[in-house]
Subunit: 513 residues, 2 copies
């Protein structure tokens, strides 16, 4: 056999492409299942539930094409209805991605944040964020430091922090600003990432996301995938490379693709050792911290009030920060899916599963104001921070400094060893689409190394999916032009000063002599 892999979702994409090019492949999987961070649990009472990655949307054309090849379909999430922003003990309704603010200052503040992020994201090349004009400056600070500079109001600060927590599952003081901007750039911008319709949460997979891996496994042949085979050693020779599992089995091949998160690369002993840059990077890319929860109800009672099921919760006692409705394709098995992320995972872990359920359902009761929220028919959850093969979710985060110092090491091959995994993707990194991009790119790198492809065929543009089409996104005329808080103060000050001067002149004219 010729090529071996230690894969998650993207590993099977790599294996499939290599197999289609006539290569022999063997996939070594540490877990007792394929899927990695895609994990679909079946249960007769709820049909199935995606406890890991679930969503897909326009511009994620690689995974859409990959799924089409495997015969997996998507269904739309219903983005209609009002969202809720629960703050100061009350729920405010809103439409769109920006929560309604309680003051003009906070409104301008949040608007300015979106606009500023949008402008900055456009300056960060998804393929090489370290080449952004301000790369060094932005990589030297955390997202929180940046927020402290441009945000003036408490309300906008909450929403700004929630953006980071909900998108990358870490606290704003844990991540490099440049890295966060790059993550947004890699996902076609902030709006695309946040939206349901026309955005990253537009669709789910009929039957669950883990099928992507299960069907890919069937396609390449179940006999080519070894489950429960954690790899502990990779030894490279001049002409081949050997992968050793924890049972001391040895698999020798021409090339190996490692399709695992950056931090878990340290689970393997490399002989010869990896270069210093890789050793340093894998110590500095902690996974986000997330618990995914589902509260199932008899009926989607929120819909009766015209509520979409999307809530943003500003309450220190709440475990869940953001939610979304979860339905099957036929509208059955309604649930509110809620993420517990970042530091809140620590609070959640001090409670039992039953206590967590009670805290969350009481929160939903306070938000929806409907007694029915207190009577779920089932509660499901999965704590990714306890899962030793992923070590967290959705993806790796990078603290300040490391994207500019070690970022280019993330996908550079070492001898016969190639690196996939959604962390190494340029587009939709952290998503299934990124996993497919990275896996297929690594596979083509190997085809290139073995002379089957030329160098310029390794990175491939993907055509837009025939069914899932993207509409361009951008800020509105006013969103782009409204003043920020300091600008507003200057304008207000100037207007007030002018008015007062006018008044004085008027009084002067009226009463002189």
């Amino acid at each position: 056999m010729q090529n071996r892999k230690s894969p998650k979702a993207g590993g099977l994409a790599a294996a499939k492409l290599l197999k289609e090019h006539g290569q022999n492949v063997l996939v070594l999987e540490a877990r007792g299942r394929v899927g990695g961070r895609l994990y679909t649990v079946k249960d007769e009472r709820i049909d199935y539930v995606d406890l890991g990655g679930a969503y897909v949307g326009p511009t994620q054309d690689r995974v859409l094409r990959f799924a089409r090849e495997l015969g997996i379909q998507t269904h739309l999430n219903d983005g209609s209805g009002d969202s809720l922003f629960y703050t100061k003990g009350r729920a405010r309704r809103f439409v769109g991605v920006k929560q309604p603010m309680g003051s003009i200052a906070a409104y301008l503040d949040l608007n300015n944040l979106y606009r500023t992020l949008d402008r900055m994201v456009k300056q960060v090349p998804a393929e090489a964020p370290w080449q952004a004009p301000n790369a060094r400056e932005w990589d030297a600070m955390t997202v929180q430091q940046f927020y402290d500079k441009i945000i003036w109001t408490k309300e906008a600060m909450f929403c700004a922090m929630e953006l980071v927590e909900q998108i990358v599952c870490c606290e704003p003081n844990e991540a490099s600003l440049l890295w966060f901007l790059w993550y947004l750039a890699s996902g076609d911008g902030l709006l695309r990432i946040l939206l349901i319709g026309n955005g990253a949460e537009e669709r789910k997979w009929v039957g669950g996301s883990q099928q992507l891996c299960q069907k890919a496994m069937e396609r390449i042949g179940i006999e080519s995938v070894l489950l429960n085979h954690p790899v502990c050693r990779i030894t490279q020779g001049l002409n081949d490379v050997s992968v050793h599992d924890v049972y001391a089995n040895k698999y020798t091949s021409k090339y190996v693709i490692l399709a695992i998160p950056t931090s878990t690369q340290s689970k393997i002993l490399y002989d010869p050792p990896l270069p210093s840059g890789k050793i340093q990077l894998m110590q500095r890319a902690p996974m986000g911290r997330v618990v995914k929860t589902f509260m199932y109800y008899e009926r989607a009672f929120w819909r009766e009030k015209g509520i979409s099921g999307c809530i943003s919760i500003d309450d220190p006692d709440s475990l869940v920060g953001g939610t979304m409705e979860d339905l099957k394709q036929d509208g059955s098995h309604p649930a509110i899916m809620g993420f517990i992320v970042g530091d809140k995972v620590l609070s959640a872990q001090m409670k039992s599963k039953k206590e967590r359920q009670l805290i969350i359902q009481e929160q939903y009761y306070r938000v929806f104001g409907t007694e029915e929220a207190l009577h779920p028919i089932r509660y499901e959850e999965f704590d990714w921070t306890q899962e030793q093969w992923s070590e967290g979710g959705f993806t790796s985060t990078l603290p300040p400094g490391y994207l500019t110092k070690y970022g280019s090491d993330i996908r550079s091959p070492v001898g016969r060893l190639y690196f996939a995994g959604t962390e190494t993707a340029c587009h939709w990194s952290g998503y299934m689409d990124g996993a497919v991009e990275a896996g297929e790119r690594a596979a083509r790198e190997i085809l290139g190394a073995s002379g089957q492809l030329s160098k310029d065929e390794i990175w491939k543009e993907e055509q837009e999916d025939p069914e899932v089409k993207a509409t361009p996104l951008g800020l509105t005329f006013w969103e782009q032009r409204l003043p920020s808080v300091p600008e507003f103060l200057v304008i207000t000050g100037f207007t007030t000063a002018t008015s007062l001067a006018g008044l004085c002149y008027y009084l002067y004219l009226k009463y002189r002599k």
Copy 2:
């Protein structure tokens, strides 16, 4: 056999103590040598050189007692002579730990930094830094953010940054302020850590530091130590625990001590998995980055000018930031030992060994102003960032937020698995003394668990070494009372205002009418 270990320096201390209590022990070592971050290379032209940990001093009583038991002696480093501060292309002589500043403002600034750090360190309990009164606030910021708040002058900022770089081998924007303060507290304060005489660099081991491990290995029996046996899996049952090496050998015992750096704990698969806190912590404790270099000369020519060999180099083109003289006990084999740390390791890695030597010797020539500096007889170096078992040096660093969130997880046992390694020590963490403290504490935890010791015997006070005595350290009267830069400006402002007022009054009196 009863107890197994995956050890570095501290693992052998644990094994020795357990053996002395009649336990059977087996030590599994990944490398082809014992010693971990203690690495002594023998060579006839330089006798031997400590490429890893080397120094020991007063208050490090555990490792001094441990060495005495093994018959290993120390010799004094000669701290006499002037130190040099090379800045703006010139070398300034000085005595003590604080570099001479070029202006009163910079002098007051640096003095204020030392005083402020000293006061803050005293508020951080070495045993539980998360209980410091300002723990949350200090853990929320990097050392750099703190520096940006209190430092006013460029010169003092350089020295402040160098403090972090030379003590923990990371950049000030990489580490939590609370963690750095705790590290200083664990090492008996900033002055103790920096000093040669009466400080952490007072002595070296006659024959090299690695002997501590080699002789401990002989003491417990060479047959009880398996070299080249990387551990890849630890499986715990109700009554025992099994350690699996990469060759699929299985060793079953009552207890296991893991004496490896925090980040390298992720190299092992745990069944059942470690708790979430450990999984998260081991992703968030990157090792410092350091290359240790030695430039050997025919004669200690710097001594002829009354220079100690300690240089602090403020020059962006320099690879080495700080140096110290390195001599054998009899004064032979003189060398300048220099550390390349933090981001400078990246620049160093872009050069060949020969190029690095040339850059460094030319730097020494500029600093010492002596032609002889250009003619070393030998150059030695070791890049710890390329060493996959340590992944860097001297020790783990903690980015903001994690000491308060996960700090207490670092040494909490998990079932039959106990945690040693200098990172888990309360005193002299990061040093050999911490490794011995941690190893012996873990051994006593096991003796406690097996009923041979009571709970209050696990943590043990150590008596002061009979030969290596500490003198109390503190800031002088003036160091404690001189104003900071803003205070100075207020005083100057006030004095100037008062003088001007006095002058005006004088002129008024003189010229009135």
